[in-house]
């Protein structure tokens, strides 16, 4: 295997994570990544695409997303309009078939990274509807009878927040990884990527406060990595130094988003 993934300059992947990406790449199976919000599941796709220099095709799943949208869409309105006004070649249905994210990835001459983001947002049956396409990496356009077969099996990365259980048949076909919340050591590396000039003492103080905050049992939503990075950004811009931070919690609103949590924390101090 010539191409292996080991993180990029802006994305720190620990050994476990880069290993599992390489396993999924080698086995050509979809990789399902779960973990708390803010642990960089979506960014992983960008990082893989960047480091292996493969184009990234994104598919953000919503509650109304239907599996067929990922394959192709037949634009009937355009065709009707064209036939009415005599524009375009109406006899060739092929012109009106718009490929979806998966369809484009299959057609691409280069191997691509396909990100299916937040798969658990969609209907319960959504993953099952994609089983065959992800397995065989081919599908047929019903309107034209053309079969689209992947020239290069794309690297499919699927993220899930575990809002819903995914079906077993779907899980069996994936490689699975759970991203743990980063510990202080890894977090230091992650922060360094985003705030390279951060003063050491301020960083330590921030991390200390951050992990303390995450341990408070009364919080409903624990702050995540991306919130920590925003918070440090706010502190740096405001010019506060480490000593001022010791007994105060400035810009708490960046870390805690629920009014209840803010109140609970104020009450406990």
């Amino acid at each position: 295997m010539t191409n292996t993934f080991s993180g990029t300059s802006s994305y720190i992947a620990d050994g476990e994570l880069s290993n599992v990406v390489n396993v999924a790449l080698a086995l050509q199976k979809p990789l399902l990544v779960r973990g708390e919000p803010g642990t960089g599941k979506t960014l992983l796709a960008h990082a893989v695409a960047e480091s292996l220099q493969m184009p990234l095709i994104r598919w953000h799943v919503k509650s109304s997303t239907d599996a067929a949208e990922g394959l192709y869409h037949y634009d009937t309105v355009q065709r009707l309009n064209d036939s009415r006004f005599g524009d375009g070649d109406v006899s060739n249905i092929e012109h009106y078939i718009k490929l979806g994210p998966l369809g484009r990835a299959f057609e691409s001459k280069q191997r691509t990274v396909v990100l299916i983001d937040e798969i658990d947002k969609a209907d319960l049956e959504f993953p099952n509807d994609l089983l065959h396409e992800l397995d065989a990496m081919r599908f047929t356009v019903d309107e034209t009878g053309r079969e689209i077969i992947a020239r290069q099996r794309p690297f499919v990365l699927i993220t899930s927040n575990a809002e819903k259980e995914l079906p077993d048949a779907f899980l069996r076909r994936c490689i699975f990884h759970y991203i743990n919340f980063p510990g202080p050591a890894l977090m230091r590396d992650i922060v360094a990527v985003h705030h390279p000039d951060l003063e050491q003492r301020l960083l330590e103080r921030c991390l200390e406060k951050f992990y303390w905050l995450r341990e408070q049992p009364q919080l409903r939503k624990q702050p995540s990595t991306s919130e920590l990075i925003d918070w440090i950004g706010a502190l740096v811009r405001s010019g506060l130094d480490a000593d001022e931070l010791s007994d105060d919690f400035p810009f708490l609103g960046v870390l805690l988003k629920k009014e209840r949590d803010l109140l609970a924390l104020q009450g406990s101090r």
């Binding site: 050994g15 009707l80 319960l124 819903k164 259980e165 699975f176 759970y178 050591a185």
Partner: protein
């Protein structure tokens, strides 16, 4: 050996399929395990285990299966007891040390350190946080984690370059483990059948057939026809019996609740709690503090709603049949419980009673009385299916 590992995992209750096992063999053929046990640990986990809840079981099974293998680990940490690791869970905070204190800490070389560790491990009998001698967290002893010592040894907590058995022995995923009877997804799939779709509201979709018809009627002038997508029109009321004899079923009922609440976009969804039988008041929280008038609630509902009551229906007969029979001494009910149940049935004829007890225990007087009023079903997938058929 790998076949044995496969059966070992299955014996330990991890649902590994043959397809997944074949994928693992393929991966091994490609050398993805780096020819090391650690590599194999990660590889097998990512290929075979698809739920975080099973990670702990996997760790335990892995440890069990490979602990007797000749295995050359230079470190001695694999035999750490679970107990020791438990003492080290939930680290206390780092202490700030002054410079003098820092200097006072003894610098140790590795051999001394290891020797001391072994000795201390023998002596220590309980958890320590923040001390300077024992193995614990947040202290200045050279052993443990989250502490400060210039040449300390990390035990538990996070570290790097661990061997597989050490990783497995940490069993980091213990609290994510759940042994579930009925999983949320199964309940969700069952509740799906309760959908009653009709076209109302929402973004409009192109209706192709109607468009073609209209266009033809219009002598070829294009006439686009849109109509709203189908939406779930079901309005669902859930009433839960909590407390007392229902305590053993709390977990199961809350799972039903969360499945109903999250997985489905009902047009309207309401849930209330009661204890044994409900009277003038229903509660919107489980501890039954926030009450709402039952009369008021029922007034806002109508025949288009559907209702599930979840309860064991087992209570003292007066609670159901007599005014003032309520189990709560301070709550005096003017009307008998059964009157309220009848009122519910009049308001929402499509009501089913879900009973988490096994059907063979449904013999009590009140259970039989209630089963005459409402069709009663057990809280199993099959029972839920039948209940949904009943009120659809």
């Amino acid at each position: 050996m790998f076949v044995n590992f496969f059966f070992h995992l299955r014996k330990r209750g991890i649902p590994v399929s043959i397809t997944e096992f074949l994928t693992l063999l393929e991966a091994l053929e490609k050398g993805l395990d780096d020819a090391s046990l650690t590599g194999f640990y990660w590889l097998a986990r990512s290929v075979l285990i698809k739920r975080v809840e099973h990670f702990d079981r996997y760790d335990a099974a892995f440890q069990e299966f490979f602990k007797d293998l000749p295995f050359s680990a230079p470190e001695r940490r694999d035999d750490l007891s679970d107990e020791l690791l438990q003492w080290l869970e939930g680290a206390q905070f780092l202490r700030e040390l002054t410079d003098e204190q820092q200097q006072a800490l003894q610098q140790l070389d590795l051999d001394e350190l290891r020797q001391q560790f072994e000795e201390r491990l023998q002596e220590q009998t309980e958890r320590h946080d923040g001390g300077s001698h024992w193995i614990g967290t947040g202290g200045t002893s050279p052993f443990g984690h989250s502490g400060r010592h210039p040449s300390g040894m990390r035990v538990g907590g996070s570290g790097q370059h661990r061997s597989a058995l050490q990783v497995a022995s940490q069993r980091r995923f213990k609290n994510l483990r759940t042994d579930r009877v009925l999983d949320t997804r199964q309940i969700g799939v069952a509740l799906r059948k309760l959908r009653h779709l009709s076209r109302k509201g929402g973004d409009e979709q192109l209706d192709l057939d109607a468009t073609i018809d209209e266009t033809a009627r219009n002598a070829g002038d294009i006439e686009l026809v849109f109509r709203p997508p189908r939406q779930n029109q079901v309005k669902l009321l859930l009433l839960f019996d909590v407390g007392g004899s229902m305590n053993p079923h709390t977990e199961l009922t809350s799972r039903l609740f969360s499945a109903a609440h999250r997985a489905h976009h009902f047009k309207a969804f309401k849930a209330y709690y009661f204890h044994n039988c409900f009277y003038e008041t229903l509660y919107s929280d489980m501890s039954r503090q926030k009450g709402e008038s039952t009369r008021q609630i029922l007034a806002n509902l109508d025949r288009s709603w559907r209702c599930f009551v979840v309860g064991d229906a087992a209570m003292a007969p007066p609670e159901l049949t007599q005014p003032g029979g309520c189990i709560n001494y301070f709550q005096h009910n003017e009307e008998a419980g059964i009157t309220w149940l009848r009122r519910l049935r009049e308001t929402i004829p499509r009501t089913a009673w879900i009973n988490p007890d096994k059907p063979q225990w449904w013999g009590s007087y009140t259970t039989r009385q209630i089963a005459e009023l409402f069709p009663m079903f057990p809280l199993t997938i099959d029972g839920l299916d039948r209940a949904i058929d009943e009120i659809r």
